[in-house]
Symmetry: C2
Subunit: 130 residues, 2 copies
């Protein structure tokens, strides 16, 4: 085999080889690719964090969406919810082992977004100017 320029279609292979695999990936992307999920996961990197603290950390998220996002992540086995029966109540969220594996791609994406934001906005402005 020649290692010169294997174009390795990759995603194409993943989708075409197993028909339901493509389906699953599409589902996962549609599932986690919403407005808040990756952002919330990224915020859980540092360790256990309280609900209100999380809310303050994610700029602009509503209580509703934070709750829904956390519930979804908990259901998917990515986030662990631990509530302490005190008054006032305290609830801490953290990533599970599975959730921590998502951290890497999520942060990679966030870093890309940060680094490419300017270029994209520039391209957009250029495109719109004509």
């Amino acid at each position: 085999m020649d290692g010169s320029l294997t174009t390795t279609p990759d995603l194409e292979v993943m989708c075409s080889s197993a028909p339901d695999a493509g389906f699953a990936i599409r589902d996962m992307l549609g599932h986690l690719g919403d407005k808040w999920t990756l952002l919330v996961v990224g915020m859980l990197e540092a360790g256990p964090i309280r609900y209100s603290e999380l809310k303050n950390l994610v700029p602009g998220i509503s209580q509703r969406m934070l709750t829904l996002t956390l519930k979804k992540l908990e259901r998917d086995g990515l986030v662990d919810r631990r509530s302490y029966p005190e008054i006032p109540p305290r609830v801490e969220y953290s990533l599970t082992a599975l959730g921590r594996t998502l951290l890497e791609p999520a942060l990679a994406f966030a870093h890309w977004a940060r680094d490419s934001g300017d270029a994209i906005r520039a391209a957009r402005a250029e495109y719109d100017r004509r």
Copy 2:
């Protein structure tokens, strides 16, 4: 500085340090994090590809969404559209240099989705059983 266990909040830092930076990242995630974008970008890995070919490759996408997704990516400077004035017409799409930088995080995410799909579905079933 001690290099023992720096928890490096990362995304938190990115959002809290510059207020508009968090805004931008949230925007980018909300923008690219839809049902099809990452999947389409992944399919463009191999090089220039025709519209209809792309449509066949992405399982279940409608003409409308493929067109909209490609237009958005073109506007963002991530995809290059090249049309050849023949009959029947032929249009080829490919990633720009900027678009190719997105490929890495996108594929990382897709790979994660493929590898974690089973575990997540299992966690979901477990969660729903009670």
